[in-house]
Symmetry: C2
Subunit: 204 residues, 2 copies
């Protein structure tokens, strides 16, 4: 566990306070479980600090992550109604982005992913949120639906102190290079290997 | 990502339904970030299913994980007040367990850890909760404060469908053998390596 003591103090001319507020780009990749789950766990800390949180779910069907969505929306409600924590937005690509008039179809996943990224880039430019989860965003990058170099440029030049967490297998090297924090989740043992099924309250 | 399709169907005489409700023992280990964070992310799913959740934090000072604690307690409050999700209990060893009259001191961490495990074993026998997080529990095991063989026995014979998630580095081999799901979080890159400090909303 990090004990808050860096190994070296960088000669970057920044104060400790400035370094504490530096915007973080984190990537959770690898074939193991916990990539998205840890991103949503991070969102709990961000929420408690009053950060404005936005989740963008790429690729997966609406069936997935209902538990996390319901829980984080409940925390957003607590912010609205009781003034605790921060606000929460949750957008998913599955059946068309919430801000879009276009209904999603099987054929236009590539277009929907590009549209999702364009919206995120606009929000980063506007400093709309404090903490972004781009869930399963590595897949549109891998499949060429969204340009990796453009993503890295936009993230590298984002204004303010916006934190971004990106999840998914096979994160491209350019994204890993740009990231401040990279964790690989490695599968050591999985119940499905021995024939167990996805479980209520565990897988969804 | 698991798509819900097991590689093989085991000849264990169980129905799919029984297998779906099988109690899960998960271990998050490794030197990377996200072990505890992913456990609390799992708790969001469990909460949404109405599971009764209990978190037991071993070792760490009360300063840590305040964000996750506040957020999960808020979800527990939503259950009590609005009837959504499940109830949440959060116990930490730092300044003495909440059920204990003994105040914690620096000297008796070993005794406090043993007391915490004894309480968990009682609750497992009573089927008190549906979803347990034993956060940083590998350390008392590693340091010999709690007996690994006893823990494995109690977990292996726990009644009902109680899910248990254990986090921490250096999980003992016997625990990994007993687990259904093991994920190793591997550090690929960490901001503290380049001298950045722990950050508000990220580290706590």
């Amino acid at each position: 566990m990090p004990q808050g003591q860096p190994l070296t103090v960088p000669r970057d001319g920044l104060t400790t306070r400035a370094r504490r507020n530096a915007p973080l780009l984190a990537v959770h990749t690898g074939a193991g479980k916990g990539k998205s789950t840890a991103a949503f766990g991070m969102a709990l800390r961000a929420w408690n600090q009053g950060f404005d949180i936005a989740v963008f779910q790429f690729v997966k069907s609406a069936k997935w992550k209902v538990g996390e969505e319901t829980a984080l929306r409940e925390l957003g409600r607590a912010h609205t109604e009781r003034g605790v924590g921060g606000p929460v937005e949750w957008h998913k690509m599955g059946s068309g982005w919430s801000w879009s008039r276009k209904a999603g179809t099987e054929e236009d996943h590539a277009a929907a992913a590009a549209e999702g990224w364009a919206e995120i880039a606009r929000r980063l430019a506007d400093e709309r949120h404090d903490f972004y989860v781009l869930d399963e965003f590595t897949y549109p990058l891998k499949w060429g639906w969204v340009d990796v170099a453009e993503v890295v440029d936009v993230l590298a030049s984002r204004p303010g102190t916006q934190h971004v967490v990106i999840t998914g297998r096979d994160a491209p090297a350019a994204l890993l290079d740009a990231a401040d924090l990279v964790t690989e989740m490695t599968k050591v043992k999985h119940p499905m290997d021995v024939g167990r099924k996805g479980q209520r309250g565990i897988e969804w």
